[in-house]
Structures are given as C-alpha cells and as structure tokens.
Amino acid sequence: MADLISAFLLLGGVAFFLAGTLGLLRFPDVYSRLHALTKADNLGLGLLVAGLAIRSESWFAVGKLVLIWLLVLVASSFACHLVARAAWRRGIPPWT
C-alpha cells in the first residue's frame, strides 16, 4: 500500500517536472516561462519528496528530504524574482 502511494506521488512529481519543462519551451516570454518553472517544479519536487519520504527508513531521512525541498523553494523563488526583475529593468516588455 505504501509502495503504491509512493509510486503514485513519484509519478505525479515527474509529471509536474515535465509540465514545467513544457511550459519553459512553449510559453512566449521570459515572465511566463518563469511561472511555469517555479510553480510546476515546486509542486513536482514536493511530490517527489513526499513519495521518497514514505519509502525512507528513518525520520532523519524524512527531515533531510523536507529540508531539501524548503531550501530549493527559497532558492528557486528568489532566483525567479531576480530573473524577472533583471528582465523588467532591461525593459523587456511582457508578451500580451
């Protein structure tokens, strides 16, 4: 049962990473692409972490996984803002 839930979560995570990459390729400008990357990858990694946490052997491993998710969240969110701000300051107009 735990294996089934874990597999479901892991596959879900992979699907969101795929969606994020697809958005990066298909969306028209830098701002929209950032939307796809940050939000889909946040959820994708969250699902991966949840799926792996179910399989992990100790609570320390669960703690490490959650820590990884939080650190990636902080880094990707601020990186997203900095890329958007750099584009905005260069005067790159948003696609409408």
């Binding site: 929209s32 939000k39 100790s58 905005w88 300051r89």
Partner: protein, 179 residues
C-alpha cells in the same frame, strides 16, 4: 516591538534557535550520536552566528501554523494551474502586469511576500518600486487583487504587523493595469 522588553524576546530567540540548530544537526548527522562534543560546538557557533547576523523579530507561532496549510494548498493549486496551461494547445494564457500597493513595511515581511508570491497560482513578483509591487499575472481574468491582499494579511499575522491602510477595500480598487 522587541525594543520595549529587551531580554525576553532575545532569550526566546536564543532558546528557539538553539533548538532549531540542534534539530538540524541531528537531522544532518542521523542523530549526532557519533560526535556529541563536536556537534555541541557546531550548534553553539551556529546559534551565535545567527543571532549576530539576524536580529530577533517578533513573530507568531499561530500565524505560522496557519500559513503552512495555506501555502501547501496554494502550491498545489499553482502547480496544477500552470501545468494544464503548459499542456493545452494555445497555450491558454493572457498575461498582464499589475501594480499592487503594498501595505507591509519594508523588511523581512516584504521579502517574504515577494518570495511566496512567486509560488502562488498565476502571480510573479517582477519589481518593487517605492511601495508598489509589480506583479506579472499569467491570466488577467483572475481576481489577483483579492488573493494578494489575503496573502498580505496572512504574512502580517506571522510577523505580528498591523496593516495600516486596511481601510482601502481589498480587490480591484488597488489594482491598476500598467499603461
């Protein structure tokens, strides 16, 4: 604010950060039982450094605990929202840049808002100029103003900030499309 009573919040932060770094060390070293003396030195150094680098600010545990499920739910919504748009032909997006007048004061709370905003459905923080946040919105048919005001209220609750200009009705009135 913490200036009124100096010792209590500092003691509270000291205890809290000591606990957090001890937990972190435990997690990283699978319990930290192999080298307790070395671990203690690391934990104490980390706590001292953190107090020197980042001053204690008032915050609310209840505000934070209420924020966690909200954030998880919004992350799920944000990921789903952008994922279906990425898969559909089109893709179905209608971006616009809105100017949102921030009620949160400059500092940690505002930086927190800028970061969390990037993970909420359909919004992205592009720039802060004066007290306005430029928000890139993936779909302008959404009522982004209400969502931003609600997020601001929740962040204010975490940092125990009283939002001053709450008299302004939340929603579209404080949102103006960029010319």
């Amino acid at each position: 604010m913490s200036r009124r009573i100096v010792s209590f919040p500092t003691l509270r932060s000291l205890a809290l950060r000591l606990t957090l770094f001890a937990l972190l060390w435990g997690v990283l070293t699978d319990g930290g039982v192999d080298a307790p003396a070395f671990g203690s030195v690391i934990i104490l150094t980390a706590t001292a450094l953190s107090l020197a680098l980042s001053r204690p600010t008032p915050w609310s545990l209840i505000g934070l605990l209420r924020f966690v499920p909200f954030f998880l739910w919004q992350s799920l919504r944000g990921g789903l929202d952008v994922a279906w748009r990425a898969f559909l032909p089109g893709p179905p997006i209608a971006p616009v840049v809105l100017t949102y007048r921030l009620r949160l004061p400059p500092g940690r709370a505002r930086a927190f808002m800028v970061a969390v905003n990037n993970l909420l459905p359909g919004t992205l923080s592009a720039e802060i100029s004066r007290n306005c946040l430029m928000v890139h919105v993936l779909d302008q048919r959404r009522s982004t103003g209400k969502a931003l005001a609600a997020l601001e209220d929740r962040i204010a609750a975490i940092f125990q900030i009283k939002l001053t200009s709450a008299a302004t009705a939340p929603g579209q009135s404080r949102i103006h499309a960029e010319a």
